[in-house]
Point group: C2
DNA sequence: TATTAGCACTCCCTTCTTTTGAGTGCTAAC
DNA sequence: GTTAGCACTCAAAAGAAGGGAGTGCTAATA
């Protein structure tokens, strides 16, 4: 993303002033307003000339003739990339902790979304981390009754998966014991990715192909391990978009809120964010840049957090393009490090 | 709910015509329209007289002078009551199956909400059944590593609960085995309600009070069993309310959709529905009758379904007062029996 | 050459007025 | 008891008028 250096210092100042003003008021910004707002002591006429240039260059535009200017996507992009007051060094003055510890990951994430929403007044989402690079810590099959076996699998970070396996034929206690031994010795410490179908096939051989039941059970185990838990996404503040007239006409509101209700599109957003290079930083999608078409009139800011063992999740904020980028990014960073803190201090709670 | 018999036959016909017409159009209904709409061949003037009476009796009202009439809550109530009496026997003509089988309860319920929403064009919710009267089928503690034990509990309907228990001190294999025996023999077949703290205390004695670890583990087990899984509620079609102008101004829309996002109020609704007497039927709340104040401008129709073993859940539809009650109630009944069918045919899948 | 004052022009928004039309209530006739 | 007829009401739609914020352009100024 090369910075366009063709803009004069003065144009940059004016552009910045336009954007900041527009972020505050939500109204198109006129030349007279600017001539007071900026410290360059210029008349409105001069500023008008500069504005005309900025418009030609595509950074701002008029919603209609005889209105002030508002930033275009390109303008916002420039602003986010270089004009924003960088608070980089100020991460030290951490805000008060926002999150309370809770014993269930689920609760924490739901709360994170909520806090974020009330903190920013935008719509927010938090995705639960995905397990595929997680490792297996423990596995056990137990007989529930003659026809049911329950399989329990403990992964790193104390994630537990389980399922009931229906078996036609009773498995002897002895065989079950053997199977448990075999599974634990073989699979322990492996990551989910590593447990391939080939490996399972080899296990079947070792366990004795003669038994159909065993084969069936092993297949089921493989399935449990691999069934991607569908991505859990927690949302909050979807109705915040009603606070922004540019998003709250029926059409847009319905689309955006639907996206939050159905979650499918948010999943896409998460996938995209996790796939993107810029992984530890914060990602800003302005308007059409967004991976999710429903949000092409919004800005979307996302961050990735990590719970160790390669388990990554995403935090996202969706709001109008005239979003308070500075505040949002700062808040995201804070939350990011709080999540880190919570989960690295007591990974075993 | 006794039907007000003080209304003449003719008034009833007119009222019904007014309501049906209003349900279709959403516009106030005038006397001229009615004089064509009804088969009683009456002039608009006559109908006007009857309408004036109906207004005095509180069944209809004018949004403003010189407008047609709109049903009042009382009017809707009469209509719904009448409707229910009429249709009682017609449950036989089942519609096509709407639900697909799925192995996870979660999926089925989510899908149920979705189907219902697209079928009715209202906002819908389905609450997952609550387990408190469910019985314990199987319990097992297993050593994950030196400091962790995983407890797995299988309940009726194949509901599985589990948790990792942190222990300071390693529990010997032998002791664990004993404990498992004890737990299974004692608790098997009991309902969650029956497993009291007193019972746990007695268990502790039997297991040998001397061991602190054992005490700790038993406490943890009790906790797992009793921790009320917070009520899971699946929603769909919240944005359908945008289809009804009377609900889709920003204020109402925001309130209703928030209720769907936060879920708290929906929980209240479920609680209320489950507590109500009329348990196997269908409940209709019109306007102010609703247990949830946010929905005082809506009608709410709920039904209870049962998954055996006393596990009850609720299905609900939220829409404008001029809801198509007939269709909604029919659809709810169908869904109710479909849920029954799915879970009683194959309780073990 | 860069800046500014001045002015005509554009177009949105608000407010006010007018028109239209659906619907009512009442009265008098059938 | 029913109906035709008529005056009246009121919301919503359609114009009409004025105000105001803002622009682009030109000509004067430093």
């Amino acid at each position: 993303m090369a910075v366009d250096t063709s803009l004069s210092e003065r144009k940059l100042i004016i552009l910045k002033a336009i954007i900041q003003n527009y972020l505050e008021t939500g109204e198109p910004v006129g030349s007279r307003t600017l001539s007071k707002y900026t410290e360059l002591n210029l008349s409105s006429a001069t500023i008008r000339n500069e504005m005309a240039d900025l418009e030609d260059l595509g950074y701002i535009f008029q919603p209609h003739t005889s209105a002030g200017r508002i930033p275009s996507d390109k303008g916002y992009r420039l602003y986010v990339d270089m004009l924003m007051e960088e608070k980089e060094q100020e991460i030290t003055d951490r805000e008060d902790a926002m999150l309370e510890k809770a014993d269930k990951v689920e609760k924490v994430l739901q709360q994170a979304a909520k806090v974020l929403a009330s903190n920013t007044n935008y719509a927010t989402m938090v995705s639960a981390p995905i397990n595929s690079r997680n490792t297996l810590k423990f596995i056990q099959l137990s007989q529930v009754d003659a026809e049911q076996i329950v399989a329990v699998i403990v992964l790193g970070g104390n994630v537990i998966k389980n399922k009931i396996i229906e078996v036609g034929e009773t498995l002897s206690n002895e065989n079950l014991l053997k199977l448990n031994m075999l599974l634990n010795t073989t699979l322990n410490g492996m990551s989910i990715d590593q447990i391939t179908l080939g490996l399972i096939a080899r296990l079947k051989e070792q366990a004795g192909i003669h038994s159909e039941v065993v084969g069936h059970v092993l297949d089921a185990v493989a399935e449990i391990i691999h069934v991607e838990d569908d991505m859990k996404i927690y949302t909050s503040g979807a109705t915040n978009i009603f606070k922004y007239p540019e998003l709250s006409d029926k059409q847009s509101a319905q689309e955006i809120i639907s996206a939050f209700e159905e979650k499918q599109q948010l999943e896409d957003l998460v996938t995209e964010t996790l796939a993107s290079e810029n992984n530890h930083g914060i990602q800003v999608y302005i308007g059409d840049e967004t991976p999710v078409k429903t949000m092409k009139d919004c800005s979307v800011v996302t961050a990735t957090y990590e719970l160790g063992e390669g388990m990554k999740g995403t935090i996202g904020i969706i709001g109008p393009k005239r979003m308070n980028y500075e505040h949002v990014m700062k808040t995201l960073k804070t939350l990011q490090s709080e999540l880190d803190a919570i989960y690295n201090k007591n990974p075993k709670e």
